[in-house]
Symmetry: C2
Subunit: 309 residues, 2 copies
Amino acid sequence: MRILVHVSGGKPDPWLAELRTVLPEAELRVWQPGDDDPADYAVVWKPPAAMLGRRPGLKAVFNVGAGVDAILELGDAVPAELPVIRLDDAGMGMQMAEYVTHAVLRYFRRFDEFSMQENAANWRFLKPYEKRDFRVGILGLGVLGRRIAEALAHFDFPLNGWSRSQRNLAGIQCYAGPEGFTEFLRHSRVLVCVLPLTPETRGLLNRAALAHLPQGAFLINVARGDHVVEQDLLELVQNGHIAGATLDVFNEEPLPRAHPFWKEPRITVTPHCAALTLRGDSIRQIAGKIRALERGEPVAGLVDRTKGY
Amino acid sequence: MRILVHVSGGKPDPWLAELRTVLPEAELRVWQPGDDDPADYAVVWKPPAAMLGRRPGLKAVFNVGAGVDAILELGDAVPAELPVIRLDDAGMGMQMAEYVTHAVLRYFRRFDEFSMQENAANWRFLKPYEKRDFRVGILGLGVLGRRIAEALAHFDFPLNGWSRSQRNLAGIQCYAGPEGFTEFLRHSRVLVCVLPLTPETRGLLNRAALAHLPQGAFLINVARGDHVVEQDLLELVQNGHIAGATLDVFNEEPLPRAHPFWKEPRITVTPHCAALTLRGDSIRQIAGKIRALERGEPVAGLVDRTKGY
């Protein structure tokens, strides 16, 4: 079995070492420009278009991340019949739950305000919020969104969820599709975005959408920067409609030094660190799926190209 | 039934209103200096010594908080045979779990460091900690400590616990007594203090104890300020042995404006807000216990005066 590897922005060696451990029978090679030789599987992060063309023998592409937008944006350069398989969770759900729970508790318990008071040596009690006024709306109810919901449910936050097609999940008020979007927003004091980036979701969080959130709402984006129209968000934060935003992803990364988000105290910036791909967990998951495919069995995480995730 | 009420630092009227709702048959009165008249029960927060003396008919004292140190410090002014009953949880466990989980995630995910980078418009990845290096040690395994443990277990933090007498709790490495204290500290990267304040625990977190924590440890104190020797903590933070402390309680409250904790960036100060007594929940719990006592049944939360909690 021949496995072709390409990991943009990272060194291939640690990935090869993990693959060698769990699939000792495989022939591994790192993709180089001009390599059109046969391979059975590709393991990729942000691959170049030339890598996934009509390669002889290629049975499936494994993405070492949850979001497959960088593959699907290659369009016709990736044959329509080539299965693209994303990671199910591989430790990212827990990391997302940590990041989002921290941010929700920070807003709910007013820790940013206490911190500003602390800077002025000001000991002053602030009236707590009530949970019934702090409904958290999760955009995207896949593996990651549901894991985040589970963590927030542990703290008794009332929850909304929104997905492309209707879901019924215990403890979550579920909305679906364009027709449910406005109602979902109107009842979400905190909006958590964990959607896949597709042509339908790009720019979804624009002025019109964000204005439907209640006055004093909060935004947490751990999905992709391009879900948000950044100028619209900035204006809604500056006019006070949005009380705060915690953003891990941006239209351009690294976030340019001159970007106004850095200086806006109500916007918290982190450097795309909410959930890392855990190499060992990911490779073990991919190896298990390769073995299943070799036995002719179905695998989880197969991307639906018409939906885009 | 006659109930005598005294709530230091708060207005009595909302407490009387709640009591009237749940115990409509009771005669309620607010304690005034010189009132030595009979009463069946007292509902108190930080009562004066004169209130709890040998009052005719007094069957029990209910403390509207978890810590009864302010009552026990009255010493012989409170008859030894008078039952003192503390709140079991009444919503404080959840609030404590929120506060502590937020602080643990903040340290674990290095959000303070990301925040400092953000102030310099610096987009820089920081290597994450591993949970196996982030064992959380909980000092005090009563109702509140166990609720905190439950929240942290949801995020798979490895847990230590320490209590006066040995406990066996699923998922917690339990230590007990003076003989287990040093080992407990040596294996706790984060120390969470939720102990009752007693003569045995006052000043427990002094230089000798804190120095047993591993290099780069964190302290979270949501119990009483007098558990900590503040000058010792400050020195261990300044010399780097303790990487950060989140403190909700202090030797003197409000924390004096000139206190060095305000200016130390590695010490986070909040104004004793980690867990508020929720009036409605507390009074419903007290009413239930009064009814049980009237039927001759035992109640939870009876303070052991020899232990001090």
